[in-house]
């Protein structure tokens, strides 16, 4: 059960009442405006109370919200998109969507992790958990982009890489490892956005970038909170505690220098005003691409090297605790 979805139910009830009153008001002589205004104020208060400040655990569920915009919701707002399929060897993994696109009047290679928006699509897209064939598609598209001089734009949204038998048999480790290799070497700008859940190495495979954006309520984590609790304490029920400890929110990660920009979400989450959020993200991506396009391939590679070289480097920055324990 998703606590955010649960919480929305009360809010939706108030919303319905406001709408009923408005309809009634239009059809009868008595002026109900003050009542409506009061209810609207209550709605605002309730919304602020419920969503004004989210704990890490709540953000995880916001990131997993079934109505949260998925990669294709972003891609569909691009000026043009021509999907490219397949790893050229074995399979086309529908958990990865990629291809040529136009953004702000310039061609880019867009690559996203795609979960389903309903049960049927989730089956087709394996809940956004990418298999080795999917990562090999990512690598192939990144290499093509690098050859052709097209900036790479990624949208990250996955619980993690697919942990199934056949993924192990098809060398999931190698597939992710060679994705990372391709991204560090790419001769073009890379802009990555975490739009939902960024789960471990399976997310990072699309995440090495010159500019990393996170949606305000997205999370990006070394492991899922559930997984972390299981690994450290053999107790998945401690996931909420793990969520707090892992420092997986956008604000935390910006402080660590792991992400570069946070795109704000409306109160209640991105799915409350999806088109606005998508437009905001695409505008941020566009700006980043534009800025990075001024750099030579060599400068991009050099800067990218330095950036990742610096994270957790010893002696080059303060070593004391950055996070705070609530």
């Amino acid at each position: 059960m998703n606590p955010i979805v649960e919480r929305e139910k009360g809010l939706l009830e108030v919303e319905r009442r406001i709408n009923d009153l408005r309809t009634a008001n239009a059809n009868q002589p008595v002026d109900m405006s003050p009542e409506i205004a009061a209810l609207e104020q209550k709605y605002e208060e309730l919304q602020r109370e419920l969503f004004g400040s989210l704990t890490p655990w709540e953000k995880i569920h916001m990131a997993r919200h079934p109505e949260r915009p998925t990669a294709l919701d972003y891609v569909s707002q691009l000026e043009r998109f021509d999907e490219l399929h397949g790893d050229r060897h074995f399979r086309d993994d529908a958990a990865v969507v990629g291809g040529f696109a136009m953004l702000g009047g310039r061609a880019v290679m867009v690559i996203g992790q795609q979960r389903g928006r309903d049960t049927k699509e989730n089956l087709k897209r394996n809940f956004g958990m990418v298999t080795p064939e999917g990562y090999r598609k990512v690598k192939r598209l990144a290499r093509t982009a690098s050859r052709l001089g097209l900036p790479i734009v990624t949208f990250i949204d996955t619980k993690g890489a697919d942990p199934g038998i056949s993924s192990e048999e098809h060398a999931q480790s190698e597939a992710i490892a060679m994705c990372l290799y391709e991204f560090v070497q790419a001769r073009v700008p890379i802009v990555a956005t975490i739009i939902g859940e960024g789960g471990s190495g399976g997310a990072l495979a699309l995440g090495i970038a010159d500019h990393v954006i996170m949606l305000e309520h997205s999370v990006y984590s070394v492991a899922s909170a559930e997984g972390c609790a299981a690994i450290l304490w053999s107790d998945a029920t401690k996931a909420e505690e793990a969520a707090t400890r892992l420092k997986l929110t956008a604000a935390d990660l910006q402080r660590f220098g792991i992400i570069d920009e946070i795109v704000p979400e409306p109160l209640g989450g991105a799915h409350r005003e999806p088109l606005t959020v998508v437009a905001r993200v695409l505008e941020s991506v566009r700006r980043a691409v534009q800025k990075l396009s001024a750099m030579s391939p060599e400068a991009l590679q050099e800067e990218r090297y330095r950036k990742y070289r610096r994270i957790g480097a010893w002696g080059t920055e303060r070593r004391e605790s950055i996070g705070t324990i609530p």
């Binding site: 942990p163 038998i165 992710i176 990372l180 290799y181 997984g227 400890r245 070289r309 957790g312 010893w314």
Partner: protein
């Protein structure tokens, strides 16, 4: 062969830790083995042939010809997340330092292997399950950068439970950092060999472990991306014993060769010889 100085110093640090117990029980056959005999046999059970998870310095001593110059030892973990659960992260680290005699989960440096100058990094499962945090990532990056400057090949022994939870995303980012260092090293035409040892999983297997020119696995090592338990929970059935073993991966085409522990040094020596010859042709 007398114990070299660098190793004697390290070994003495182990003294109050692991060496206190002079007997080890074989996890495979249950035999009680005298520590000295076990060490003399390359930490392989003299009864059933089971290869014990090996300490980093023991491994280095088994692989290098003589001297080993460690680098990156000064790089030590901080506590970037201010991690606390039952214990704080610094307390956990100190406990593992005590127990293993290691500063961190990887030891890096330079030595000769069969007469060939080489960079050598060895991960140790006894320190935080060989997990990769900022120190492991930093030390490996430093090693690869130094190897690149010196134009010598690099051999990495992996043993890892994946990324280190207590350093959060900073740990995950070490996959990016090590990959960046590997790519620079390899794009210059340098030779990179990885030896996968038991166990190698997660963030290590999905980064530098599978980017090498040649991927060797020690016989019977467990190697995979997802842990066995995670997969079993996902598919709700038991996996076959053979699944994710070195031998399984060889059959599936993921790795170049499976080598018994006692043959590793000779194998590495031959591999380094081939690469040294190649450099001559290019030069």
């Amino acid at each position: 062969m007398p114990t070299p100085d660098w190793l004697r110093i390290r070994r003495s640090k182990d003294g109050d830790g692991r060496d206190a117990a002079v007997w080890s029980k074989c996890p495979s056959c249950g035999e009680l083995l005298y520590r000295r005999d076990l060490a003399a046999n390359g930490h392989v059970c003299t009864r059933c042939g089971y290869a014990f998870r090996m300490g980093a310095y023991d491994r280095i001593s088994a692989i290098v010809d003589g001297d080993f110059t460690e680098i990156g030892a000064e790089v030590q973990a901080g506590d970037p997340l201010g991690w606390v659960d039952k214990r704080t992260y610094p307390v956990k680290l100190n406990a593992d330092r005590e127990k293993s005699g290691l500063g961190e989960a990887v030891v890096c440096g330079f030595g000769q292997i069969g007469g060939h100058d080489a960079a050598l990094g060895v991960m140790d499962f006894h320190f935080r399950g060989g997990t990769m945090g900022t120190v492991v990532g930093e030390r490996i990056a430093l090693l690869l950068e130094a190897a690149r400057r010196r134009k010598v090949p690099c051999v990495l022994f992996t043993a890892s439970g994946g990324a280190r939870m207590e350093e959060g995303m900073l740990a995950l980012m070490q996959m990016a950092k090590t990959t960046a260092a590997v790519a620079r090293f390899m794009e210059d035409g340098n030779f990179f060999v990885v030896v996968l040892t038991d166990p190698t999983t997660g963030g290590v297997s999905a980064s530098f472990a599978f980017q090498a020119d040649v991927i060797v696995a020690e016989a019977k090592a467990m190697i995979g991306f997802a842990g066995r338990r995670v997969i079993e929970q996902t598919i709700r059935q038991k996996l076959p014993d053979q699944f994710q073993t070195a031998e399984f991966l060889l059959e599936k085409g993921h790795i170049d060769m499976v080598v018994e522990r006692h043959a590793l040094k000779a194998t590495l020596t031959r591999l380094l010889q081939y690469a040294a010859d190649g450099k001559k042709v290019h030069a």
